[in-house]
Amino acid sequence: MTSHRWLPFPDRRVLAGAGLLAAAAVPAVVWAATYSTADEAARRSFKSATAFADVLVAPSPDDAAALAAPGSPPHGALRTIEARQGDTVLGRVIVDSVVGKFELIDYAVALDPAGKVLAVEILTYREGHGSEVRMTSWRNQFVGKSAADPVHIGSDISNISGATLSCTHVTDGVHRLVAWAARHPMAAKAAA
């Protein structure tokens, strides 16, 4: 049976004092959600695969520049997961991160051998203040962390409504990865 009700809302005088707005809210300095691992994303996209191989690709200087978001330093090593069925190459998943205004997003793109996008899956989504998101030290605190770590203050918040978050940065990132994959096609047969 459908039902909905308001929870007790902060008094309008509290809201009117802009300085008090944050006090009335959950102090979600960081909100994060872990959705999938790269391996899960690979298994979903290549259901008939019999083997997966992690391949770390060191991009050439030109590729590193082309893979980076505008204004960002050159892209580091690319994590890819190749999917095979016997000696037939089914495709690959490329794992990447994008930094937005308020968010840091890890995502995975599944591509067939010809470079066609099969799926884009969000792996982890983290939110902070705009300035924090661009700080390397802020981003580094998440390295190796899972959703269970205390740094994810707001991870128990399941349903968030409000100002629509843009996925533009992910879309731009996908375009860069697709362009890279087109320059580096996969062989149809796996090397022995």
Partner: protein, 273 residues
Amino acid sequence: MMHRRARPLLGTLVEVRAQAASATAFDGAADAAFDAVAQVHALMSFHEAASDLRRIARARAGERVGVHPHTAAVLVRAQRWARASDGAFDAGCAPRAVAQGWLPPPDDGAPPGALPFEDALEVDGSDVIVHAPVWLDFGGIAKGYAVDLAVARLRRAGVRSGAVNAGGDLRVFGALEETVHVRSPFDASALWPVAALRDAACATSASGAVAARIPATGDAPAPRSVTVLAPSACAADALTKIVWLRGEGSVALLRRSRARALVVRADGSVWQS
């Protein structure tokens, strides 16, 4: 166990959360839900020249345009909301959004005239009869429809409880009551726990994209964000636009629609129904 997945769709983050016995069972259900959202996106995107909306935009007066049943269903709902709100809900607002740079200028000829979209278009089965050219923008309703469709797919796949959230247009289903947090329109990092939903939906519109589509009116302080609770995500989505424009004047429609609204205005004042 609660499982979660997310994909970038509809220009935002679409999250599917469900109680499922196994990861495999969840994956199949979530795939069906994401496919439904992707289909709505492809059919009703103003950005994609092959979408049903753009095919309607290119049609001349008197033409019949065959559309997908989902597109026809959203158009019927949009027209119903337009009539119920005396035109406050306006899906024919794409020319205004294009003029303000929120939508890319389409290559579909000259912008159409002033005839309201609910009069200019007639739905006949899965055909749209174009009485006068219209540039439709389903930005105020398609996301909600997609969320409802995704929930239906999850249920059909045997999921008893869960949630679908398309960038803030969300619906929860199942036996449990869930808390919804709304992002403060003054500080994106502040989250307010505002509502409890059971088998119901919530949508929020905040200044920016909405302001570009809805002409400024009157004297009351402009809303900064409007949140609506309703039985379906489609209704919640559409009603946020109507409440944005009509404010307390939408009380009767909200009540008839079994919905509630929360308006946070630019001066920090709040109105709740």
